[in-house]
């Protein structure tokens, strides 16, 4: 294939299909509600006409897609150092991007593109709408070569800085992946993790179904509270048991499906000094991760996962810029859904350049439990007891109250025993959690600032709190020995201020 980008060239011929599909997609999206209403209310002849109309839309889309393809050209002006795109069937649009303004080049593959075997290429420039600069159908090797051309125009330092965000084309990874997560492991992970998220998802879904059925019945003027009645009738002890079992099955199934969709064919391979991570069932996502950008390395394990020897890992990167949305922060975290102990160690070695060895361990004072006990046990219990006097209706629930107090006590106690910080020359490891026990590892030179605090009534007890602020979040250690904390802070300050290591 001739990879001379200085001549204007078109997208891959498959682009006709992709462009057409985009138009159909847009049409269907815009017309969805009228169409649905039409289908619902019409007779057979009208349906036939509509089918014909849809076929016409399809043909027109393909024809338009063809012309769009004919008129869409892009080339690299090597003299002026600009990337130029000409496009538009009716109105023409000429886009010129100075090469040095290019921040990053993303190569993605959506579902349809995966079917046809092409990629889309997006160019991100500072302060412009990235959707504008989008080549929606380009063949794999061309995309990669073009990306190389676009980024080589920059200075190497800039390219380096961006490398972590670059989404790389799969043919790049000739190296054999050192972590490959098979279906079996994914199944195990789906069964053992993320219950909380799935419960949220399911309850949202359940509410939506309930609500929609009611809406439908109301729309048909037949809502006499059947839904509520149905639920009321079916509440017996046996049916509650069945319902619980069903909920657990559905929960596990959702968990497994979610895990498969997100992490199918998960691979990590080394690519020069970076980690190349790829996964996804429908849309494959490739991310190049630079170890020096990782601020916090976290691995976690719950009781079940401990039994089968699996870890979840999260590599937390620096948030760039001042303000970021929740989603962007999440995108900055690379997750490794499941790995065995040796793979975990391998990743740690890649990121931290060596395994964290044992250090001095610091544990909190038992007063750690005071506030949680006050707020989640004593106050609710007090409230319950007060209402107990005045509301006879809630008296039968006293067994629930006892169970709640016992469970909450146990959870607080576990969180107290698990809360600890381990300090060695090169690492700080914070352990925490109740069910999922997580270990967060940072290197001292990743610290941005440190804060310590103490309540006045803890002065004579010599208890204090510590927070290490990093670019990927905070790490706190509460109710520790304040003298030891101050000693540690002085030591870390010495390491940060005396060391030459940069945090990024």
């Amino acid at each position: 294939m001739a990879l001379d980008f200085s001549e204007p060239q078109r997208q891959s011929t498959a682009g006709i299909l992709i462009n057409g599909a985009y138009i159909v997609q847009r049409f269907v999206r815009a017309m969805f509600i009228p169409l649905a209403l039409f289908i619902f209310k019409s007779n057979k002849i009208a349906l036939l006409y509509m089918a014909l109309g849809l076929v016409a839309v399809l043909i027109i889309s393909i024809v338009y897609g063809y012309f769009y393809y004919r008129k869409f050209t892009f080339y690299l002006d090597t003299l002026k150092r600009e990337f130029v795109i000409d496009k538009g069937v009716f109105g023409r649009k000429n886009l010129t991007i100075p090469i040095e303004k290019i921040q990053q080049v993303n190569i993605n593959q959506g579902f349809l593109q995966k079917l046809i075997g092409v990629y889309s290429l997006q160019i991100d420039t500072a302060g412009s709408d990235s959707k504008e600069v989008n080549i929606s159908a380009i063949n794999g090797s061309t995309a990669y070569a073009l990306k190389e051309h676009l980024l080589n125009g920059e200075k190497e330092a800039v390219a380096n800085q961006n490398s972590n965000e670059l989404i790389v084309q799969p043919s790049l990874k000739k190296e054999t992946p050192f972590i490959k997560i098979g279906a079996g492991t994914l199944l195990k992970i789906g069964l053992t993790s993320n219950y909380g998220q799935s419960i949220l998802l399911l309850s949202g879904f359940g509410y939506a179904v309930f609500h929609n059925i009611k809406e439908l019945l109301r729309a048909l003027d037949k809502d006499n509270g059947q839904v509520e009645q149905f639920f009321k009738n079916s509440v017996t002890i046996i049916s509650i048991g069945i319902l619980l079992a069903a909920i657990i099955v559905v929960l596990l199934a959702t968990n497994v499906i979610r895990t498969f969709v997100k992490y199918f064919d998960f691979q990590i391979s080394k690519h020069q000094k970076s980690l190349l991570i790829s996964s996804g069932l429908f849309a494959k996502k490739n991310t190049l991760l630079h170890p020096s950008r990782v601020q916090i390395t976290e691995y976690s394990q719950n009781y079940f996962q401990k039994k089968i020897g699996l870890f979840n890992m999260a590599l937390k990167q620096a948030h760039s810029g001042q303000q970021q949305s929740e989603k962007e922060v999440k995108n900055n975290n690379m997750e490794v859904p499941g790995c065995n102990p040796s793979e975990k160690d391998e990743v740690l070695r890649m990121i931290l350049s060596k395994l964290p060895l044992d250090g001095t361990c610091y544990q909190p004072n038992f007063r750690f439990m005071n506030l949680p006990i006050l707020f989640s046990i004593l106050l609710p219990l007090g409230g319950y007891l007060i209402f107990y006097q005045f509301l006879p209706e809630i008296r039968p629930f006293y067994s629930l109250a006892i169970i709640y107090v016992l469970v909450a006590l146990l959870m607080i106690y576990i969180s107290y025993t698990k809360h600890r910080i381990t300090v060695s020359e090169d690492f700080i490891i914070k352990q925490s959690g109740i069910w999922d026990i997580s270990q967060e590892i940072i290197e001292p030179h990743k610290i941005q600032s440190i804060s310590t605090s103490q309540f006045p009534w803890h002065k004579s007890l010599d208890i204090g709190h510590l927070t290490l602020h990093t670019a990927a979040g905070n790490i706190s250690f509460s109710y520790g020995n304040y003298t030891e904390i101050k000693l540690l802070v002085n030591w870390w300050l010495y390491q940060v201020e005396g060391g030459q290591k940069d945090w990024m």
């Binding site: 001095t360 020359e425 610290i447 309540f455 602020h469 979040g473 002085n490 030591w491 940060v496």
Partner: protein, 176 residues
């Protein structure tokens, strides 16, 4: 402790941040705080008296409301006084310290080579009294940043200059 001290570093010999003498805010800055509180109290007081005029229920219990108002005002003054007395900052050779807190006493330490940028703010009142607020930003998010209020403007400018100069030097050494 012995696990991470080696021959060259004696942990006890390291400079101790907790023993650094701190500079409190200028005593005159208290005036600004008082003016701010009084303005706030005036606003609340006016709203309360308006309510008293129009609401008969409140009118009958005006003693309770006035009492609450006075207790609240006293409480506010005491709170700010306590927080004012606890504040203090220090500019060390390689880091900035800032101590503050109403109940818990918090010390934030920002190493100079982790500062992203420095800002100097002057509010309307502060400008009249020649004070400034120095804000020091890091990449570690809002909770790990320092905001020193009530620094005499000349000193604040000098501090900002010093910090910025240090920033430039740091950046240069990193580039080499």
């Amino acid at each position: 402790m012995q696990n991470f001290s080696n021959e060259t570093i004696n942990l006890d010999a390291l400079p101790k941040y907790e023993e650094t003498p701190l500079t409190g805010p200028a005593p005159k800055y208290w005036n600004i705080i008082v003016i701010n509180i009084v303005l706030l109290l005036l606003f609340i007081g006016i709203s309360l008296s308006l309510i008293t005029v129009f609401n008969e229920d409140v009118q009958r219990n005006w003693m309770i409301w006035t009492g609450l108002y006075i207790i609240g005002a006293l409480f506010l003054f005491l709170l700010f006084r306590a927080s004012f007395k606890r504040r203090g900052f220090a500019l060390r050779e390689k880091d900035v310290l800032y101590k503050s807190g109403i109940i818990a006493e918090t010390t934030v330490i920002v190493p100079l080579n982790r500062i992203q940028h420095v800002a100097l703010n002057e509010g309307f009142l502060s400008r009249m009294f020649h004070f400034g607020t120095l804000q020091i930003y890091t990449a570690g998010g809002a909770s790990g940043e320092i905001r020193i209020a009530g620094v005499p403007i000349e000193q604040a400018k000098a501090m900002k200059e010093a910090l910025v100069q240090r920033l430039v030097i740091n950046k240069e050494t990193q580039n080499e």
